[in-house]
């Protein structure tokens, strides 16, 4: 089965108003070609789930600068003043979520779990409106799972099937997001023949990846 698409074709699958998980941490390990193509094709009213929004005009910051995000679920927007400006001005709806909780909510979504019980956020504004559950005398906050229409993943290498290998800190949220998108599109830096990534080095197995963005 050939999963390869051009970057243009990949982004054409994404409708306006879609919910999209985007891998990366301050733009490191983000699918930069697909982000730029979404801006070019005029995708708008997006719900973006990501750790952060990069910096001004970089990484997810490109979508922010072009005002394409309607709703954002993220842990940190401190290094992108334009995101903060749009949120404070009411142009973008933002749900800020502790980073570890965000990762686990995505994992719950991708792993078929009904939620996450975490001590993080108890007694703070994060806990407002959420259920507190007592387990053997310890209190935990119930955080609900996250899934998305699409997950856009950046990988160091993909083989022809879509097995993915990551590089150093570019791994970050990509691994877990590849389990939680209803359609998962990988953007690898390099494409190698199947078998070129040893089984022990595969961090995302090919069964999670629906499409691969080719080099052209």
């Amino acid at each position: 089965m050939n999963k390869f698409l051009s970057c243009t074709e990949a982004v054409e699958m994404i409708p306006d108003g879609a919910s999209i998980m985007i891998g990366g941490f301050m733009g490191v390990g983000s699918p930069h070609r697909m982000i730029a193509e979404m801006v070019r094709q005029g995708r708008k009213d997006l719900t973006i789930i990501a750790n952060d929004t990069g910096t001004t005009g970089f990484g997810i910051g490109q979508l922010v600068a072009a005002k394409r995000i309607r709703k954002l679920i993220a842990s940190h927007i401190g290094l992108n003043p334009e995101t903060q400006r749009q949120v404070i001005a009411g142009e973008m709806d933002a749900e800020l979520c502790p980073q570890g909780t965000l990762a686990e909510r995505i994992r719950a979504g991708g792993f078929g779990l009904g939620g996450v019980l975490t001590p993080t956020g108890l007694g703070t504004v994060v806990a407002e409106g959420k259920q507190v559950i007592d387990i053997d005398g310890h209190k935990f906050l119930l955080e609900k799972p996250l899934t998305a229409d699409f997950a856009l993943i950046a990988a160091h290498r993909s083989d022809y099937r879509g097995n993915l290998e990551y590089s150093l800190t570019a791994r970050n949220f990509n691994v877990v997001m590849a389990t939680a998108g209803r359609t998962v599109i990988a953007e690898p830096e390099h494409i190698v023949p199947t078998g070129g990534i040893p089984p022990d080095a595969v961090a995302t197995p090919f069964v999670c990846v629906h499409h691969i963005v080719g080099r052209v």
């Binding site: 404070i88 570890g100 990762a103 993080t120 590089s167 150093l168 990509n174």
Partner: protein, 221 residues
């Protein structure tokens, strides 16, 4: 001595050999410069590496090897790259020995506020809430006052980062240990009187008869 250097040198004495440490942005990143000799610690960066080190030399930056602020770093031999779930599993799961963070306010219960100033600053909490809730030991490294106003208060006015009691507060004036009984003044900076520390602190300090002077890590700069 510069206030930040004083704080970093005092905090450096808290690092234990063989421990896993996560440093917040700003002042905490100065601490490794003043490590006592013979102490080896391992730095975690929550974006996904254990064994973070400085970039070894000019031109050796790698776009896929960065810290949580997106700045270039290096790695020690034996470093491991980890994904975000494992990174925060280590933080929440009791595998992280120490986190050193900056602070905006700390209250009499030892609770820290350091992630937002409503209406002015909306950075998001990033990993701060997980770190303060989950690390085995939390040290707050911060200036004692801001524009002359105390930052160690009876009650925090800013939204809390966690309701967990931090383990130690180190400022340019004092070392304070939050306990069940309250904030205990443990050490004061060279040349300061106890009265000046108390006057610069809104929260009640528990002061014993003898308060030693701060001992500092080596001056390596």
């Amino acid at each position: 001595m510069d206030d930040k250097v004083l704080i970093a040198r005092r905090v450096a004495r808290e690092l234990k050999d063989g421990s896993l440490v996560n440093l917040g942005i700003g002042l905490p990143t100065m601490v490794p410069r003043y490590l006592p000799p013979g102490i080896e610690v391992y730095f975690q960066s929550e974006n996904g590496i254990i064994g973070m080190a400085p970039v070894p030399g000019a031109g050796m930056e790698e776009p896929s090897l960065t810290d949580a602020g997106g700045g270039f770093v290096g790695a020690i031999p034996g470093a491991a790259s980890i994904d975000s779930c494992l990174s925060f599993g280590l933080i929440r799961g009791g595998h992280l020995d120490l986190t050193i963070l900056g602070g905006l306010e700390v209250d009499e219960q030892g609770c820290l506020a350091n992630w937002t100033v409503p209406g002015k600053m909306l950075p998001g909490m990033g990993g701060a809430m997980d770190l303060v809730t989950g690390a085995k030991r939390v040290i707050v490294a911060m200036s004692h006052t801001a524009k002359g106003k105390p930052k160690i208060l009876k009650r925090c006015t800013l939204p809390l980062t966690s309701v967990r009691r931090v383990n130690l507060i180190v400022t340019e004036m004092a070392v304070i240990e939050p306990t069940e009984e309250g904030l205990v003044l443990r050490e004061i900076a060279p040349g300061l009187s106890i009265e000046r520390v108390v006057a610069a602190t809104e929260a009640k300090l528990i002061v014993s008869a003898h308060i030693p002077e701060m001992a500092l890590g080596p001056d390596t700069m």
